[in-house]
């Protein structure tokens, strides 16, 4: 990946990310997030992860983000009202924490023993075949577990989002009055 492309993509990613965090309208936030995700997809492809990059675009942007959009429209959320006083502390600490994190991570980037460069990889690196081989051999159990996770998530989402109906609560089994009459005190 040429340097200029990286600089451009990086700047765009940071700007869009800030847009996600700072805009008041959720739909605008979402659009900014879409930009970040597509930006990153391009970077993935540039780093040789062609399959993952395309999947990023398809799954994230095509599926997940659309889901977000639906929910925002469903709930009819347009703008977020201004923050009231009292959570200033939260914002302050949030900013400080984020800054501290960035600082720390930068220390790593600077101080960590830098790899000499990118290693040479075969042309098939990152292809569907290569990924599939890893996925269905070494990561088979994780793959199965993930499929189970998705299933559970689907069921959970359905269960959570559907309207609660009255018929689900069962009344306790009543004791027949005859039993009490038979042996209980005849008072």
């Amino acid at each position: 990946m040429p340097l200029w492309l990286f600089v451009f993509l990086a700047a765009l990613a940071v700007l869009a990310a800030l847009g996600v965090v700072l805009q008041r309208n959720p739909v605008h936030c979402l659009m900014a997030l879409v930009v970040v995700l597509l930006d990153l997809a391009v970077m993935f492809i540039g780093l040789g992860a062609v399959t993952v990059g395309f999947l990023q675009a398809i799954v994230y942007v095509g599926a997940i983000m659309v889901l977000f959009l639906f929910v925002i429209w469903l709930l009819n959320l347009q703008t977020e009202e201004r923050r009231v006083a009292g959570s200033i502390g939260l914002r302050f600490f949030g900013a400080v924490g984020a800054a501290a994190l960035v600082a720390e991570l930068c220390v790593f980037v600077v101080k960590a023993p830098s790899t000499a460069g990118l290693s040479h990889v075969p042309p098939t690196f990152g292809s569907i075949g290569a990924i599939a081989e890893a996925l269905f051999t070494d990561y088979l159990i994780a793959f199965e577990a993930t499929s189970l996770l998705l299933l559970v998530a689907v069921i959970g989402a359905v269960a959570l989002a559907r309207r609660a109906t009255a018929s689900r609560t069962r009344s306790p089994v009543p004791v027949s009055p005859a039993v009490h009459e038979q042996i209980g005190a005849r008072q």
Binding site: M1, L3, A10, A13, V14, A17, V21, P26, C29, L33, V36, L37, L40, M43, F44, L47, A49, T51, V52, L55, Q56, V59, Y60, A63, L67, F68, V71, L75, L77, E80, R83, R91, F93, G94, A95, G97, A98, A99, L101, V102, L105, F108, V110, T115, G117, L118, S119, H120, F125, I131, A134, Y139, A142, T146, L149, L150, A153, A157, L160, A161
Partner: protein, 102 residues
């Protein structure tokens, strides 16, 4: 062509991660908080991909696939919870959804 060192990618990842984290903290809207979390996940994904390339190992990419799947699951359940909560409370503000305390 490959003139950009991997550490730059990681620095970018760190920056995006921090922005995401800040977003989770300062936004009240739960949906936007969820988006910020997606942002954080992607920052991590970037790091994985960069290291995968740098080490010449496919593992990083596979893990990113898993992360995407988990993110999908998380988004689905998270949004379902938000819908359920909104139905009961008519709000998506995090500081008003605080029934889960002591």
């Amino acid at each position: 062509m490959m003139s950009v060192p991997p550490s730059w990618f990681m620095a970018l990842g760190a920056l995006l991660f921090a922005i995401g984290a800040a977003g989770v903290l300062i936004r009240r809207n739960v949906i936007v908080m969820l988006m910020a979390i997606e942002l954080m996940l992607n920052a991590v994904n970037l790091t994985f991909i960069a290291l995968s390339r740098s080490l010449g190992s496919i593992d990083g990419q596979v893990i990113v696939l898993f992360v995407i799947t988990v993110a999908a699951a998380e988004a689905a359940t998270g949004l379902a919870i938000i819908i359920a909560a909104f139905r009961n409370r008519e709000t998506v503000n995090a500081d008003e959804l605080n029934l889960m305390r002591w």
